[in-house]
Symmetry: C2
Subunit: 466 residues, 2 copies
């Protein structure tokens, strides 16, 4: 794609439109802006980084960039895992990190309105003070809400509460040519034309930039109980899940973890996990407003676990124990990264009853292809995070093996009725896999939609589909 | 729009492709197919009605119609209220009513897969036997699931459970040119490209025809309690709702009704409503799996109601009493229709805290414009159903007054941050109001999306935006 390179004149305009101290060029650009959490997917330098502070600035920048044919990449915290927020073709990188105000907590409509740069952890904290609750719970707490919306982030509590999409009520959007529109609103229902709102959600900043986001809230659950159940084998562990669902027991979260990853995490955090005697673990959590009901559900689940080969069931219902377990769970990715020289990751989602087959398939690949594969996952919603580790493989071996294994895994997921990404998105790293999985016509529809919003392909080019 | 008229040759092809006894033409076309539930919006005769029985037939019909430039209108039960399923430009009407099989109830993935012509009431019945529950609860139980999905139907239980969109996991779609694609799947999370699934939901059969739909289910709640609270005035009634939400009490449903409509319904049904001493009523319902918690929530709510000017609170927790109240609620629309010669309807949605202002505005319009306006609504989600009644107005007076009142109401809804339709959709009847409400750019985006899917505009033309 032939884009205009940024000139001195452009920089002058951009500085005048925003503020000189918020426009960075050349060696003043922090190296962090050249990659996301997956440095393995390459480093790409924007020609200018602009820290914006309001929608008006974004609109002016977009209008200018659109006219001049300069690519623009929007970015939150840069915690993505598919290269979605890197400036693949240079140009302008718009950092939304300074747009981090919680604009309104509305206790009547049960909504919160935020700027896109608000961090997930800051939102959670602000709401707790009002006894309110934003249910989606992606593992990366330093991600921005804008980033969460743009990848339709899922997280641990999707089993009971659904994903980010289910909580977005309305947004202000700057389109690629700078025009501003509103989608949705502070409303609970909407059947007024095609859902543009749902198109922007999960579009990874390729169709427009969200400058204001209104989210639905729920009352903060009064009680949370977690259960940690060790099992002698992975299959014992995986067999339980369909049984729980058939028994109409719906936990808030069900996480799957194996000994290897627990040990790596202990090492990484320098903290002990409550148990590591067994091969595989399920971590379940239950929450709600009626303490009796939460206890009752978790008792029922514990009984099912014990009937179905759980070696034991540890109950965590104090802040301290809950924290110890969930902190470890939150550190898995960092622990894996620390354990090896390079990783590649896959975030497929398969139907719940196909998870056992999928994970067993991955385990066999591990043996067959002689590459270390670590996985953990959201066992209650069929979303599995799989990490290939380079360890002592040569660069060539690594390249060949990881490509081969990835292709096989995506093929298998597709066979089982799954999709390429459960929650991390496509970015540029998974575009080929998405094309393969969706097939020609659906991929063409994606591209045509992109062209409707961004005919010059200047907003986050090279991502998702085009 | 210049479409090809259907010829004898076309009929021969269509009969060969499907079956002669399922293709109707001329006087064999049942009058029901010329309108939906709002005959006021006109009668439109298709040139041929085809009762299809599978996706293959639909695909062949679409491919043929696309090549020949014949418009096609898909239709379920025809229970819509905006003319969405009428053949505005003649051509082929595809009736999906015979595609009414429940294909699979999956108790592990907690999904049900249906053909689009399954009736809501039949789905509910089939699931109850398995102790499973499809939460959306639109008032019209003889609507098809396909129709519900295509209008993103809302219903009574949206306060707690959300709307149809929140329960669609995957669909098989026939595109306007006959090609078939799959969107989503039996999966709980998905961040794999733009959400085509969410574009089809609420698209009113203008982007593609759903031939198979997989819905998410929940365990059937073990207990339901309804509360009926009479109030001396509408404002007393409306004042309560923000107070309930601020107190973090989230009922399953909150319905608002006034004496006039209750009396009309008693007359229509020939059955007595439990109480009609007061001016206005709130009907609240609570459900859940823990009997104690349901009782507790409803007790808490009853206390709030009594503290805030409810004259009394009647509790309904037996099948019989629940049935008496909710049957009346379900018959409101028919009762209004029976009470007058013609109606027009409006289905706006506003933020919850603006509902009081909106309904009061409508009440003032009633007085000022000398037109009888009846309203009832989903008071817990800001979605209000407003019916203008012709009564003894002349045709000219009726035309002028209703247009004026409608325009004012939509303008007011927009001012309050609302949208044209909460759950009934746009069809052809509300296109002008949608255009006004969305503004040029969003309307253009809608049209451009339509062109991506249907460049020849042969699938349900004249609806939604184009």
């Amino acid at each position: 794609m032939a884009y205009k390179k940024i000139s001195e004149n452009d920089i002058t305009f951009l500085k005048k439109t925003t503020a000189p101290e918020r426009v960075y060029t050349n060696q003043d650009i922090n190296d962090d802006f050249t990659h996301d959490e997956m440095m393995e997917y390459g480093k790409f330098s924007p020609e200018a980084v602009i820290e914006v502070i309001n929608s008006h600035e974004i609109s002016l920048i977009m209008r200018y960039a659109y006219e001049k044919n300069i690519p623009v990449t929007p970015r939150g915290s840069g915690t993505g895992l598919c290269g979605g927020s890197v400036a693949l073709y240079g140009g302008i990188l718009i950092s939304l990190a300074k747009m981090n105000q919680i604009l309104e907590i509305d206790e009547t409509n049960l909504t919160v309105t935020v700027e896109p740069g608000v961090l997930l952890m800051d939102l959670v904290k602000a709401l707790a003070g009002k006894e309110l609750f934003y249910p989606p719970d992606p593992g990366e707490k330093t991600a921005t809400i804008g980033g969460n919306v743009m990848t339709n982030a899922g997280g641990m509590r999707a089993v009971k509460y659904g994903v980010t999409r289910d909580y977005v009520r309305g947004m202000d959007i700057v389109l690629p040519d700078g025009e501003m529109i509103k989608v949705g609103g502070k409303i609970a229902k909407n059947s007024s034309g095609y859902s543009l709102k749902d198109l922007f959600i999960g579009s990874e900043g390729t169709l427009g930039i969200a400058t204001k986001i209104t989210l639905k809230l729920l009352p903060l659950p009064k009680k949370t109980i977690s259960l940690l159940a060790p099992f002698q084998s992975l299959n014992d562990c995986l067999n339980i899940i369909p049984i729980l669902f058939k028994a109409k027991i719906i936990p808030t979260a069900i996480e799957l973890m194996q000994k290897e990853i627990i040990e790596a995490t202990e090492k990484y955090l320098g903290k002990f996990f409550p148990d590591k005697s067994a091969d595989s673990y399920l971590l379940l959590s239950f929450d709600g407003n009626a303490i009796g009901e939460v206890e009752n559900s978790s008792d029922q689940a514990a009984q099912v676990l014990l009937n179905e080969k759980a070696i034991d069931v540890f109950i965590a219902d104090t802040e301290e124990r809950l924290d110890a377990i969930w902190t470890a769970r939150g550190a898995f990715l960092e622990a894996i990264k620390t354990s090896t020289s390079q990783i590649d990751e896959c975030d497929v989602v398969v139907p719940l009853d196909q998870m056992r087959e999928f994970i067993n398939y991955v385990d066999r690949l591990d043996d067959k292809e002689k590459i270390r594969i670590v996985n953990f996952g959201h066992a209650g919603d069929g979303n599995i995070h799989i990490y290939l580790c380079k360890d002592s493989l040569s660069n060539d071996e690594w390249q060949i093996k990881k490509d081969k294994v990835m292709q096989k895994m995506y093929k298998k997921a597709l066979e089982l009725g799954g999709q390429v990404s459960g929650e991390h998105g496509i970015g540029h790293a998974k575009r080929a896999f998405l094309a393969e999985s969706l097939g020609n016509r659906s991929m063409e529809l994606n591209k045509s939609i992109k062209k409707v919003f961004d005919p010059k392909n200047i907003l986050n080019p090279g991502k998702v589909c085009y």
